[in-house]
Amino acid sequence: MSELWKAGLAQLALHVESGDASCHDVVSETLARIEKYDGRIGAFVRLRGEAALAEARAADEARARKRARSRLHGLPIAVKDIFASREFETTCGSKILAGFRAPYDATVLVRLREAGLIVVGSTNMDEFAMGSSTENSAFQKTRNPWDESRIPGGSSGGSAAAVAARMVPAALGTDTGGSIRQPAALCGVVGIKPTYGRVSRYGLVAFASSLDQIGPLTRSCSDAALLLGVLAGHDPRDATSYPAPAPNFLASLTGDVSGLRIGVPRGFFAGPGLDPEVQRCTAEALTRLQSLGAKTVDVELPNSAHGIATYYLICTAEASSNLSRYDGVKYGFRARDADTLDEMYENTRSQGFGAEVKRRILLGTYVLSAGYYDAYYRKAQQIRTLIRGDFERAFEACDVIATPTTPGPAWKLGQLVDDPLQMYLADVYTVTANLAGLPGLSLPCGFTGAGLPVGLQLLGRPLDEATVLRAGDAFQRHTDFHERVPPGVTR
């Protein structure tokens, strides 16, 4: 009982099924951990303490009557502050959405509820998911549980920190250019960005609609497979949702990687931007996978060198369009000091958005403006085609592609806030999966000498989350990096 906080989703399900803990015990333990540690970590922006406990009691009653909605009924989860909910506010880390309570529920929240999962709170994030450190939140800083002077990554930094500090067994995040995988890597947890279209985005606050995907952050690949099974599948309310049922991801976790072909783009494992300790840990992870029977093959992804430039043109263009809806009319914040409608728009947006959001809106407006569209936006979409072609060719020779998730470990709070371009370059290994729509998994594969986690990224063919999860799960059956607990949160 006292060790409940160490358990992941599947383990908690076993505890609850066997009767040695109730859902109320599990949710109480979760809330107690949040109470104890979140003053330091700052992962949560909103909690549902009493409501969550009431749902846990109801879950225990349902289970007693053999009416469990799923294995996960009554277990706690945290969600990024970015999903429309009738139950609680959705603010997307921004002042401009202050007080917003949606009149409908996002599909992922409906699916969590149908499985009986209990949302205990919403997690901190970079404003409108724009950032790689969670420092662009309008509300608070989030600290990395492995070293509280460092950033947790972003934009799903609150979700990653909450899972890493064992406050919750799992959380939802979103990933437009690495925002699930990068914080997962920097916080030592598992995160998967599914194939574009695999999870419905109905009710997700839009950042860059051709890139955004929702996915789970968990402690293990098997928990990620379990939770992705809850989230995935076609939704007629999202026209970009893939029109086919999702496979049983959990059933694909055989532990067997013999004969699996792992593509290694050598350029991703070298170069002046790559931290030597990240290089060492990820190279050792490949050796480990080879010892389990996988084969490595060299692959070339030449156009990935253009990934960051391409990504920042496309995502800012789409963001400038998506964020035009925040005008002080329909919801959220309105500036009070305006006489005319135009003044009201300008004052609301100028006072309501933070610096990074303004920067991206301006860049996106510029690249879409008359005379620049062909040189920037259209050019970027053409290079995107080349990047996708690279992956198609590479996947003729391999089943998954391995890279470091990030070029370095977590950096110090404040270190990059004045250098947006350097911050963007932290996403160098993750953005191409979004540009190509591929599934991407990050899992812990080692630690630096200073005790900071390092992540290995595994990319798969479109719709082939199953193979990357199988490879990640096989690795975790033979390693314990994902079971290590940050030293400051061990009781």
């Binding site: 007080g99 917003f100 309570r101 009149p103 574009y196 279209g197 051709s210 026209a239 893939y242 029109p243 253009h306 960051i308 430039a309 391409t310 920042y312 400038s320 035009s324 002080g328 009319v329 329909k330 919801y331 959220g332 914040f333 305006a338 006489d339 409608l341 135009d342 003044e343 728009y345 300008e346 004052n347 947006r349 100028s350 610096a355 303004k358 920067r359 809106i361 301006l362 860049l363 407006t365 510029y366 403006s369 259209r378 050019k379 970027a380 979409q381 053409q382 290079i383 995107r384 085609t385 080349l386 996708r388 947006p420 371009l421 963007y424 540009l435 190509a436 729509g437 479109p462 719709l463």
Partner: protein
């Protein structure tokens, strides 16, 4: 220099953003650095390359034009900073 002070002010106006003097300077500097990085794309040969419109090979889905799941107006306008029972209120548009 890719971007002048005047350009920053022009795109800010298009984006309905009002920037203070220090903000204009900062944005000019940041956008200039980012556009400098993006310049490398100009050298990539993209003749005869079709721009990506969707990452997966699927057709645009169509559905019947049927009304479904309509929200009550009162619930929708409830979030507006200024509203009546059935409308959102904005500053006067016409004199």
């Amino acid at each position: 220099m890719h971007i002048t002070r005047e350009t920053v002010l022009y795109i800010a106006k298009l984006a309905r953003l009002r920037l203070g003097d220090t903000e204009v300077e900062r944005m000019q500097r940041d956008l200039d650095a980012i556009l400098g990085h993006v310049d490398s794309l100009a050298a990539v040969d993209t003749r005869d390359v079709a721009p990506t419109t969707h990452v997966l090979d699927i057709a645009t889905p169509l559905r019947r034009d049927e009304v479904a799941g309509v929200l009550p107006v009162a619930e929708v306008v409830r979030n507006a900073p200024d509203h009546t029972d059935d409308a959102m209120v904005v500053p006067k548009v016409l004199e």
